[in-house]
């Protein structure tokens, strides 16, 4: 069979399809993967960007299979919809590592964390801060994406636990800071004084909510928590503006997935699952996350 020309004898070729490089967390994860792969001698990694399109990602996976790569690292777009891509790789008998997002079919190894957990941790923090009493607003990501669905589900579990916690209103801001800002401005008008916390499905939107609250000078009455621990969110936590965020270890996940892929490519045993837990970042434990 034909091997790509740029491949030297004995070199290992890895294919990596990233969910969306224009999203900050995924970009960080992908960078970690690329950088870590560079430190491994005899390894070549090709990265492609699915731009959040399931069908496009499926095509990229097909391209990898056609190229006969030694292993594939997949950062799936979706829980359900990305399953056929996983099945396709398995049928082609190429080792597959899933990172940051599971699918219905399991790969040979999964590195990552569970979005359900992230939602739960963030909401728990809010509940604790409000002593289980108060009004909460929730800003969703793009509706129907698995991150949105699972983060919501995690948060809902907490609502069930604390009957004093009321979900006053919820709306999507499509992961977008400007949209979250406008939404929060509108909510400040509609629900003035009735809410004590805002939970945003990611930090971008949390930053938008934060800016709107600050502009209306009512931030001190409202707790804001996001997810992802992007750089700006960490700074905001440090400055005492943002109450908390949920840390996802992009570098840990990235390195773990490359290691797993190499093990599988060399036909060595590899753990089926490597869960890197989410951690709540507050002002108290911030130092460990600011490197």
């Amino acid at each position: 069979c034909k091997k790509p020309a740029e491949r030297k004898e004995g070199e290992i070729l890895l294919g990596f399809s990233s969910r969306d490089l224009s999203a900050e967390y995924t970009a960080k994860l992908s960078e970690a993967i690329v950088e870590y792969a560079k430190t491994k001698p005899g390894v070549k990694l090709v990265m492609v960007d699915a731009q959040s399109d399931v069908q496009k990602q499926f095509s990229q996976v097909e391209n990898f299979v056609a190229q006969k790569v030694d292993a594939i690292i997949l950062n799936p777009c979706e829980l359900e919809a990305s399953t056929p891509a996983v099945d396709y790789v398995k049928a082609a008998k190429i080792p597959l590592v899933l990172v940051n997002q599971v699918t219905k079919s399991a790969g040979d190894s999964y590195i990552g964390s569970n979005d359900f957990e992230a939602g739960r941790i963030a909401m728990e923090a809010i509940a604790k801060k409000l002593n289980g009493q108060g009004g909460v607003l929730m800003i969703h990501g793009i509706m129907g994406t698995s991150a949105q669905l699972q983060r919501e589900a995690g948060a809902r579990e907490v609502f069930a636990k604390y009957p004093g916690l009321k979900l006053i209103d919820q709306q999507t801001a499509s992961w977008d800071r400007a949209k979250a800002m406008a939404l929060t401005e509108n909510w400040i008008q509609a629900h003035k004084g009735k809410f004590q916390a805002i939970f945003a499905h990611n930090d971008e939107m949390a930053m938008g909510a934060l800016l709107a609250l600050e502009r209306a000078s009512i931030k001190k009455d409202v707790t804001v928590i996001g997810i992802d621990a992007i750089a700006q969110a960490l700074t905001a936590v440090k400055e005492g503006r943002l109450d908390a965020t949920v840390f996802q270890d992009a570098v840990g996940q990235g390195r773990g997935s490359v290691d797993a892929a190499l093990l599988l490519a060399r036909k060595q045993p590899c753990p089926k699952e490597n869960l890197i837990p989410f951690q709540l970042v507050t002002r108290e434990n911030l130092a460990t996350f600011l490197k």
Binding site: S18, M47, V54, F58, S59, N63, A66
Partner: protein, 314 residues
């Protein structure tokens, strides 16, 4: 063999795009080992088929001088309705397929009715349909992907002999549409309406009927694309198809169809679809970073169209 004067003429007109396509393909074949393999070429064909079906559909609308921005949302909506009727053991295979097609067709017809009877600009009508269909897809699915589809349906994304079924769908759709537009009276009337609506009306062509046909066909094919996509990703995904309309319309316009209507051909659309498909595939094969991919893709498309138009002017 049957003689297709329109086919030959259109191919000759699009010589610029053909040249760009061939050059890019040759470059890719030379610089990568994987491009010119059967497996990869089948991949390219499979990958372009959904955009191809959409592009052929929207060719009808663009020829009449209209536009359809609702493609992506209607793909999602049809995928969802199809998947809702596709749980194993509930209905026979043709039910979800028909439901998906009908959903698309009805959305298209509604677009057509609003454009013709309502006298509203196609841009506004289909922009409205774009948000409405997306909302309906989310409502019907409860915001969650509709999974658990019957294997018979998801098999439709598989192969029939050496050829993937989606590719066969695209080929059939393109062939029939090409014949319809090139050879049938109603097809020619589509060009007439797009070229000069007043003149077509004065010559006794029923402009309303022609436009309804165009939007309806476009909707039906969008429904087909929705079903094929659902089969391929084994779910009805309410947020699928984002910005698919742009890729489809881009393919059509690259292929020489005028946005003001009256000029264009299915063969041009196919070339446009292939160009976009090969650029996407090639850039991924070359491992170009996705940020640079965007830049390169934009430059190649504009460059190809520039070459093509210069070619056909001289």
């Amino acid at each position: 063999m049957i003689h297709f004067p329109a086919f030959d003429r259109n191919l000759r007109h699009r010589v610029g795009i053909v040249v760009v396509l061939v050059v890019i393909a040759a470059l890719l074949a030379l610089t990568t080992d994987s491009f010119a393999t059967a497996a990869n070429l089948t991949n390219v064909a499979r990958q372009v088929s959904i955009n191809g079906i959409l592009a052929v559909g929207v060719t009808f609308v663009l020829l009449t001088g209209g536009v359809d921005l609702s493609l992506g949302s209607v793909v999602a909506l049809s995928g969802v309705t199809c998947a809702l009727f596709a749980h194993p053991g509930e209905y026979p295979l043709f039910v979800p397929i028909c439901v998906g097609l009908l959903t698309g067709g009805l959305c298209g017809l509604l677009n057509g009715v609003l454009v013709t009877r309502g006298g509203i600009a196609p841009f506004i009508v289909t922009l409205g349909m774009m948000t409405v269909a997306r909302g309906l897809a989310l409502i019907l699915s409860g915001g969650k992907p509709v999974a658990n589809m019957m294997p018979a349906l998801t098999d439709l994304a598989g192969d029939l002999g050496p050829l993937p079924i989606p590719v066969l769908c695209f080929a059939t759709v393109a062939l029939l549409s090409g014949i319809f537009l090139g050879r049938f009276r109603l097809g020619r009337h589509l060009y007439a309406v797009g070229g000069n609506e007043q003149a077509a009306r004065a010559a006794g062509v029923s402009v309303t009927r022609v436009k309804l046909l165009a939007y309806g066909t476009c909707g039906l094919l969008t429904g087909l694309a929705g079903v094929v996509l659902a089969a391929r990703i084994t779910t009805g995904q309410p947020n699928a198809g984002q910005a698919y309309e742009l890729d489809a319309i881009a393919a059509v316009v690259i292929g020489g169809t005028s946005l003001s209507g009256g000029v264009g051909s299915v063969i041009g659309t196919i070339l446009g679809v292939l160009l976009i498909g090969i650029i996407n595939n090639g850039l991924d094969l070359q491992g170009v970073s996705s940020y640079y991919q965007a830049v390169i893709k934009g430059v190649i498309i504009v460059g190809a169209v520039w070459l093509d138009r210069r070619q056909s002017r001289s």
